[in-house]
């Protein structure tokens, strides 16, 4: 890998604006994640964390700015004259295939077994042959600690197990970046830990991750960069220790205090930090 490639961020978000009707959700957000970097997005509900993640894989169209993943524009192509052209749905789908996403509500395919959930996209989108896909899926399910659940249906699993399957399903596409949209917010407190453990493992193995979360313990431990969003703008960013322990802005301090009031911030695995 050349030095130029090393310095090239995997995900680059520049001056992105997004509105739903008259509601400005993102107002000039700039974030980037280098290879193997873990970026945690924190902030109150409605601050734009989820929308930012959804823009990165083009589930939402952006109004202004530019997002690239592996130096490729998301959802658009730059023409010879320098103007942008929207990609066809098929082209968008192809680019999205390399961006893994994990949702708050898991969204496992309810009519398929766990194994079928994991191999569906690799076999249908990447055209991996079934045998290889199943072997890979089994490895991934082992890795998230659910090697024995391949034949289970989603409704037979706990929320934590479902979310771990969702992570395995996203990994099956061999993504270059994983986006996590509040992956533990819909979980019972005692199930949060098992999902965070899997995510810690991923971070250790060098996966590039952007995580919207309310788990300050996780952010402190794993994040290379913490970004505090409020009202669609980035209020503060920096290393976890700096933003979480010595926030420079009043608004950040207020937010952290409001979260601390609901759980034990100093614990390695806070379980009630839901804002």
């Amino acid at each position: 890998m050349t030095a130029a490639q090393m310095s090239q961020p995997v995900v680059s978000v520049r001056e992105v604006h997004k509105a739903f009707g008259r509601l400005q959700v993102l107002r000039g957000v700039t974030v980037s994640a280098g290879k193997g970097e873990v970026v945690c997005l924190i902030g109150p509900s409605g601050s734009g964390k989820s929308t930012l993640l959804r823009c990165i894989n083009h589930l939402e169209h952006i109004d202004a700015g530019e997002i690239t993943v592996e130096s490729q524009l998301v959802g658009y192509r730059r023409q010879a004259d320098g103007r942008l052209r929207e990609l066809t749905p098929r082209e968008t789908a192809r680019r999205r295939a390399r961006i893994g996403m994990v949702f708050q509500q898991f969204n496992l395919f309810a009519h398929l077994t766990v194994l079928q959930n994991v191999i569906e996209a690799p076999t249908r989108v990447l055209r991996v042959d079934r045998k290889t896909a199943i072997a890979h899926a089994r490895t991934l399910l082992d890795r998230v600690g659910l090697g024995d659940k391949g034949d289970a249906r989603p409704w037979q699993l706990s929320g934590g197990q479902q979310q771990r399957v969702a992570i395995a399903r996203a990994l099956a596409m061999r993504p270059t970046v994983m986006l996590f949209d509040e992956p533990t917010s819909a979980l019972d407190p005692e199930l949060v830990g098992e999902v965070l453990d899997v995510m810690r493992g991923l971070a250790r193995e060098g996966m590039t991750m952007i995580v919207a979360t309310h788990e300050m313990g996780f952010a402190r431990e794993v994040a290379d960069q913490v970004v505090f969003l409020d009202g669609g703008v980035i209020v503060e960013r920096g290393p976890a220790a700096q933003v979480l322990d010595h926030p420079g802005h009043q608004r950040t301090r207020q937010f952290l205090a409001s979260i601390a009031g609901r759980g034990d911030l100093s614990a390695a695995r806070p379980t009630q930090a839901r804002a």
């Binding site: 589930l59 749905p89 999205r96 996403m101 949702f103 969204n107 309810a110 569906e120 996209a121």
Partner: protein, 318 residues
């Protein structure tokens, strides 16, 4: 400790409470009234000679009636197939983001649901008066093949077109409701995995929509079966027309209509049973083992009506 007797470390030791069920005289009166009415009707079935049961028995299995029944089943089956396939296409059209396509889907449903089935059947049957020659070719351009509408539109074709296109309008609404009933998160998850729209529809949304689509489709099949009796006006020899042929000759109107009734009843019952198992099959993965679980057949409901003599028991707390 006085607040709660049952804590986590101290398992509840309750004495089953024996209580006699409440008196419900209304139930007994209502049941008696129903039984008297049913018995009266049953009695007339036996003693009224005008039912002519021997005639019913004679024609029930006759080849003329069975041929008519087969025709009815054919028309119903093919019409439903047409209705389901076309209805799915129209449902997808109505959900399209292209306005012209969505409007076309809406207009189809509007027209074919508004005009009575009998009228539609007559229009198709008389299509030759409107378009004597039917051609296949390029719109506004040359045609490759022609057929004489009078030959192409047989009573059978008219019946299938009339029933099938009418049914498609209803199926379109059923399929659309089914598609909309699937959680949006399923589509988003599939999109995030790089699946494209048609693949998502085929592999993720439609299979899950089936659970919502099948019960009303069962009803539609039954209503198409019964609607197919209208094709007797096109002098197509379906079940009803076949018995009409007989009684116009023998004047045994009632017993022959009874033959038709019994066959419609029989086929509808078989369809109902089939639907039950189909629902159970697609109900897998719905979060409820057995899918259609919790629903009782009429027989089971009847058994349940028997007043329970068992005492109500629960864990009694002091």
């Amino acid at each position: 400790m006085s607040v709660s007797q049952t804590t986590a470390d101290e398992p509840a030791v309750g004495t089953p409470l024996r209580a006699r069920p409440a008196r419900r005289p209304g139930r007994w009166i209502a049941s008696a009234v129903v039984l008297v009415v049913v018995a009266t009707f049953g009695h007339t079935l036996v003693v009224n000679p005008n039912f002519e049961w021997p005639v019913v028995g004679h024609y029930f299995g006759s080849s003329l009636v069975l041929t008519g029944l087969l025709r009815t089943l054919e028309v119903t089956g093919i019409s439903m197939l047409l209705g389901i396939v076309l209805g799915t296409v129209i449902a997808v059209m109505r959900l399209s983001s292209t306005p012209i396509v969505a409007t076309a889907g809406w207009a189809y449903v509007w027209i074919f649901r508004s005009v009575p089935l009998l009228v539609q059947l007559l229009v198709w049957y008389n299509l030759a008066a409107l378009y004597p020659r039917l051609s296949i070719g390029i719109p506004f351009g040359p045609a490759f093949a022609h057929v004489d509408a009078n030959h192409a539109i047989t009573p059978f074709v008219a019946a299938v077109l009339g029933l099938g296109l009418h049914e498609a309008a209803y199926m379109a609404e059923i399929v659309r409701a089914g598609i909309l009933g699937v959680d949006r998160g399923q589509t988003e998850a599939a999109e995030a995995l790089g699946m494209h729209r048609m693949l998502i529809l085929r592999r993720i949304v439609l299979p899950q929509a089936l659970r919502l689509i099948i019960p009303p489709t069962g009803n539609e099949t039954i209503s198409t079966l019964k609607g197919s009796s209208l094709v007797s006006v096109l002098s197509m020899a379906d079940l009803l027309y076949s018995v009409q042929i007989v009684y116009s000759r023998t004047f045994q109107t009632i017993p022959l209509l009874l033959v038709a009734c019994l066959w419609y009843l029989a086929v509808t019952s078989v369809l109902g049973i089939g639907q039950y198992y189909l629902e159970r099959h697609v109900g897998r993965g719905s979060g409820r083992p057995g899918g259609a679980g919790g629903r009782r057949g009429p027989l089971l409901s009847l058994l349940r009506m028997r007043p329970s003599r068992r005492a109500v028991s629960y864990v009694a707390g002091p």
